[in-house]
Amino acid sequence: MAIEIESLAKRYGRFEALAGVSLSVKSGGVFGLLGPNGAGKSTLVKSLLTLVRPSRCQGTLLGRPIGHRATLAKVGYLPEHARFPDYLTGRQIVRMSAGLSQMARKLALAREEMLLERVGMATRADDVYRHYSKGMRQRIGIAQALIHDPQLVFLDEPTDGVDPQGRVEIRRMIEEMKAEGRTVFVNSHLLDEVEQVADEVAILCGGRMVERGRTADLTRREVSFVVRSQGPLPFELKAAFEKEGWLVGADSIEVRGEAAEVVQPVIDALRARNVSIREIRESRRSLEQVFLEAVNRKEEA
């Protein structure tokens, strides 16, 4: 396990930011931590990285107790709203990160070139940070998080404020990190972003973990097939479909089930009545639906 939290709590006075959260993250995948604003996502990550002093904390990070400073040499971090000294160039920021990670100079220089190339900043690496766009700043932030070849990388809202093209680039970088065998922990409230990259997700709400599991499993819970006809459905067919318990619209029928077999009787019935089929598609719950349901459940509770 890359991360094994038995219990993590953090209070700010009377406000309970994290209420004894437990969480496990396997090594070598992309883990997405979701939650609405103020859910405690950043507090959780910061507690793991010793930026925040938790009220109670039991668990391990890369096999060592959370808070073990030497272990942080194997951890990379891109903070939310990352800000680096504006008098430094991108290359100097990456170099400083290497120095603070106590990397050997030769190795640092080699990795620095490779990473600047990889994040697409090789040609602008010697420009001053204050002249960078938001997307460029995030790329430099990712490069400094990876310079010391970490096993575990925390990315807190990595695509926040980045344009669509930049988001695609950052997703690609996350996939590359995963391909290299790193564990990537993505903290985000942008659900579609996480859905596209994360193998596993957890949903945090009000300082409590309300849902967790493999992304595919969570979205597979309610798979259905939707068949749309060319024009309105004949009345008797509509009645027959409704009798089967399927969800019937003016020109659509939705049948729940994971296997394609479940939709075959609908197709047969439509074809038998010479009704033209306009569309057949598999419909899954989006992570957004999973998220909203989990959050609503929590709020109702």
Partner: protein, 329 residues
């Protein structure tokens, strides 16, 4: 690169990126040139590379007071006014944002998540914050060192005492600024409080000098010169001297730390600097030692002046470090 090396290089880059650093260096260069422009002739001294010549019986080329006069200009005007007031204000303005900016959201995270303890990080950043004062004073002293060789004819490495002394004096104030900066995360609050502390140190020194003069020599300085006290008045001053000294004793000795330069420096022939001698030579043309004046200048041992100030600084730094280590980022 080591962790200290990374923070040290970052601090140098920070200074390089601040226009005030270059402005201060530029003014220092100008002040150094002005100093260099003062020279000695057979009949007196000149200012502005010979532009203005002043005849003087005691201060002229080859006279024993020339070296002391030249050092006095450096010590009284350049060190006591430029380096320890104006340059320090500019240094404080330049360095005030270091900790508040470092602790801003999104800035501290990438550094604090590295395998470096918070105490160590704090100590490194604190020490590197002294670079402004150190570099400025060192550069200025090099100019003065060359100027002295040219104008007085001898190399005087003892003027480099100004580097640790000015840096030390700056460090007392820097400690306060760091503590307030960490506590409030506000550049303005840090600057204002350091100014208040600095003024308090200065006021405490003035009150202490006043009380000492009244109780020891029985004279209080007034606008018209000085006023003699009666024996009973002097006794009253003596009684309250300890109370008047209290703020001075507890606060860092900013002025006295810088004035130590006049005690540490050695002039040609291993002579000590004497303020009364140079003042009388300049004003009356005949150097005369006033032991009372010189005694007031050398009141308090260097160990006491530096030691008690360092105790204050260490307490403030320890508090700042404790705050820094406990803080959630």
């Amino acid at each position: 690169m080591t962790q200290f090396g990374a923070i040290f290089v970052d601090s140098l880059r920070l200074l390089r990126g601040r226009s005030l650093f270059w402005i201060t260096l530029g003014i220092s260069l100008f002040a150094g040139l002005m100093y260099l422009s003062i020279g000695f002739t057979a009949t007196g001294y000149s200012v502005g590379f010979g532009l203005v010549a002043v005849d003087h019986p005691a201060i002229r080329a080859g006279s024993p007071m020339a070296g002391m006069f030249y050092f006095a200009i450096f010590s009284v005007f350049l060190v006591n006014v430029w380096l320890s007031w104006v340059a320090v204000v500019l240094a404080l303005i330049t360095c005030a944002p270091i900790f508040p900016e470092f602790m801003a959201e999104g800035a501290a995270g990438s550094v604090l998540s590295k395998p470096i303890s918070r105490w160590r990080l704090f100590a490194y950043k604190y020490v590197c914050g002294l670079l402004f004062a150190l570099i400025q004073t060192a550069a200025f002293c090099v100019l003065v060192f060359l100027a002295m060789r040219w104008r007085v004819g001898s190399w005087n490495p003892t003027i480099f005492w100004a580097v640790p002394l000015i840096t030390l004096m700056f460090s007392y104030l820097w400690a306060v600024m760091v503590a307030v900066g960490i506590k409030t995360r506000s550049v303005m609050a840090a600057l204002l409080s350091v100014m208040v502390v600095w003024m308090s140190c200065w006021m405490a020194k003035v009150v202490d000098d006043f009380a000492w003069s009244a109780s020891e020599s029985g004279e209080i300085p007034t606008i018209s010169g000085g006023e003699r006290l009666s024996t009973s008045e002097q006794a009253t001053w003596k009684r309250y001297q300890a109370l008047a000294e209290l703020p001075y004793r507890s606060l860092p000795k900013t002025t006295d730390t810088v004035n130590l330069l006049q005690r540490f420096v050695r002039l040609e022939g291993d002579r000590e600097f004497s303020m009364s001698e140079v003042t009388t030579a300049t004003l009356n043309g005949v150097p005369a030692k006033d032991t009372e004046v010189d005694a007031s200048m050398t009141r308090g041992s260097p160990q006491w002046i530096i030691g008690s100030s360092l105790v204050f600084e260490l307490m403030v730094v320890a508090y700042a470090g404790w705050l820094f280590c406990r803080r959630d980022f």
